[in-house]
Amino acid sequence: MNTVLNSNRPLFFCPGCSHERVVHGVDRAIQSLGLQGHQVAIVSDIGCSGLFDTFFNTHALHGLHGRALTYATGLKMVHPEITVLVIMGDGGLGIGGAHVLASCRRNLDITLLVLNNFNYGMTGGQCSTTTPASDQTASNFLNKLEVPIDICRVAAAAGALFTEKVMATDGALAETISRSIEFPGFALLDIWGICPGRHLKKNPITAGQLEKKMRTSGGGHSVSIGQDRDLPAEEMEVSVREEYGEHYRRLAAVTKEPQPLIEIESKFSPLTHERTEVVILGSAGQFINTIGEILSIGAMSSGRWVSQKNDYPITVLRGHSISEVVVDIKPITYTGINKPAVIICVGQEGVDRRRKMFAEADADTVIIAFPDLTLPVTGARVIMCDGGNLKLKKGQRGIAALAVLVQTGLILDCDMLNNAIKTRYSGMMADVSLEVVATILTPSLPPEIS
């Protein structure tokens, strides 16, 4: 195989920089796997290691500091056939920590090489998340205040199935990189190196000494899970976790087609001949949003234009729920309420929320309400809904109120309402709702409800 190094772009690191070793290690690993440049994408981070993509004749993405894994993720999801290698320093590891953890959990087939030289080289030797507290850095005493992280342990805890530490100077570097690329899931290599440009002078150490430190740190070679060992059953389950992309495609393949848009045909003669505004005031759990939708569909079935605006707190299971519906003979302009023709009151929280509206309403406005609600003083005409002798559940009040609206002759007739209920609901919900409507609109029938 031929090298994938870019002969037009000679390496540009300080003499003795460990990064140079890694460049050659990556090149040999790619060759040994029989990959050609166009089968590989190198996603580089920021800092000295951010130059990596320029040295290779592969696809290359060089973006923001710490975010390399995010691009790699999107790229791998749309091109599963491409080998995606992410190169970042210990700086990128720190600023992009959330993405490292998420990548470990996700197990998408990406290989992350952390070029760990224990400082921010390019910007002048500041401390990073891996700098030992005893080191001298350009961050003065600040690194003494925090403990360095061992990324392999953090990654393993986050669910990474392949984590290994290796020295940049290790003769087996290329072979280790190959194995990490071959691993069918997220693989993280913590590659320890030396930065003569910014860190070595104040923190003299030889490669041999650093390697010794690595071994005693509990890291050392081959921390990979999932290949050897006797793991307890539950951990084993984690270790055989499916690769994210394959898993996604398998689950996506059995997802159901989404619902198409429901076409509402205009088949009834309209009752409204000008802009008509309705406000439905209720409480959480009264299906106010759906009641507004049924009213809207009903009006649409008579060829009218409709808009529906809902108002409810973030806590959807508590508090007010309000729906504002505007019906017009032309496309709706202003979606707010100027002067409501109808105020439907089904829950006290909604009524309390819009007290001002009651004070402002005059005899042109009809209020449909239930006897147990406390209504503010109003000049509007109030129609009480007694539920047609039905014992209405709280959630059925909205439908009952729409039946009373039919009796006013203002917007919907019985056919429009029934048609809208059948359009919006199916099964039990439809049956019960139709029955509530029938009972209210035909008071002579015996009150029965299933």
Binding site: H38, H62, G63, V78
Partner: protein, 362 residues
């Protein structure tokens, strides 16, 4: 053909699918979340990808990575998410990565009111990137617009290889309305895309399926997409990225004008406020006032020529926005000697037709 009943967020998602969106990634945020839910309903059954990022930085990052691989991508968020997107937006501009970004605006600053509408991000969308190069910002008035402009946004993103924003609003994204089914049934002229213009040509083939290598970089670069410090190369690249949009402002321009000859006042607005303005216009004309209405749907790049020609001959311009005065700055710099009156409201409520009438008559 009958009509359908849906909100602006669903319209955006349906348009994206029709435009051939291959990849969506989002992070839950009110009032944009339902776009994510719709995309999650639509994309997987089509064998396409929808992901939830660990944060907004990740979700747009996923999109940019997928776009680098040639996918048509979209993400959606609200103001707080746009803030986190900011540096990635700069990357998309500088590396010329096509992406559609939906901002369903809510009342800020910061966390603000999650369920209240506003148009407070308008200049932020334009200028919220390092370097200040132009972007495209489209703003829908209603659900139909949300659909049509999203189709157009995909087209523009591919053609100009840049971020295209849909500056929606909670009051469009989460308000349902009836729309002719016809609107959703077919593609209009926005179908497909091309990049014929030589001056716009970018080097990236935007597909990793060929042997041709794709390079994208956030560093200053020339046509070879390698980092460079050559002032000439850098300057040329910046100029090209700026001019590809500024010189196309006419083609990108989308606006609606309701004017009668001899009108003395021009009412200017955009987004959901245009709906109240339409009502205000009727009432003003009934009272005998000569008022024209200009509804701008492409906020950026500013269609300077088109806007100036609408302002010509007017005695007064009134700008109304759901913020404390953002786009009025563009109008003021184009208005010359014509006095510009501004009315803005930022309290989570819609601006009413009555208040617009009052401001015009002031």
């Amino acid at each position: 053909m009958g009509s359908v009943f849906l909100d602006g967020n669903e319209a955006v998602a349906r348009a994206a699918i029709l435009a051939g969106c291959d990849f969506f990634a989002g992070y839950p945020i009110t009032p944009a979340t339902s776009i994510f839910h719709h995309m999650l309903d639509f994309l997987p059954p089509l064998g396409r990808v929808c992901m939830q990022g660990e944060d907004e930085i990740a979700s747009i990052g996923f999109c940019l990575g997928a776009a680098a691989g040639g996918a048509k991508v979209m993400t959606a968020t609200s103001g707080p998410g746009i803030s986190l997107f900011s540096e990635q937006i700069s990357f998309a501009i500088g590396a010329e990565i096509p992406i559609v970004i939906v901002d369903v605006q809510r009342l800020g600053p910061s966390t603000g009111s999650a369920t209240k509408g506003a148009d407070g991000d308008i200049q932020f969308l334009r200028w919220g990137n390092s370097g200040g190069l132009p972007v495209i910002v489209l703003v829908p008035v209603d659900v139909k617009d949300a659909f049509v402009l999203t189709l157009r946004a995909f087209h523009f993103a591919q053609k100009y290889r840049c971020p295209v924003f849909i500056a929606s609003n909670k009051e469009v994204g989460m308000v349902r309305e009836s729309v002719d089914l016809e609107v959703f049934s077919g593609l209009d002229e926005d179908k497909g895309c091309s990049c014929e213009s030589e001056s716009l040509k970018v080097v990236n083939p935007a597909s990793l399926r060929t042997k041709e290598l794709v390079r994208l970089t956030s560093s200053t670069h020339g046509v070879d997409n390698y980092i460079t410090t050559d002032p000439q190369v850098i300057g040329d690249a910046i100029l090209r990225m700026e001019q590809k949009l500024l010189s196309a402002s006419g083609e990108l321009c989308c606006m609606e004008v309701d004017a009668n000859p001899g009108d003395s006042t021009l009412l200017v607005t955009y987004g959901v406020t245009a709906r109240a303005a339409a009502e205000a216009l009727i009432s003003l004309r009934k009272q005998g006032y000569g008022v024209s209405l200009l509804v701008i749907k492409t906020l950026f790049p500013v269609a300077e020529g088109e806007l100036k020609s609408e302002m010509k001959g007017k005695e007064k311009i009134v700008v109304v926005e759901m913020n404390r005065g953002q786009y009025v700055r563009e109008i003021e710099r184009l208005a010359g000697d014509i006095p510009v009156h501004f009315y803005g409201q930022m309290n989570g409520e819609l601006i009413t037709p009555a208040s617009i009438v009052r401001e015009v008559l002031q």
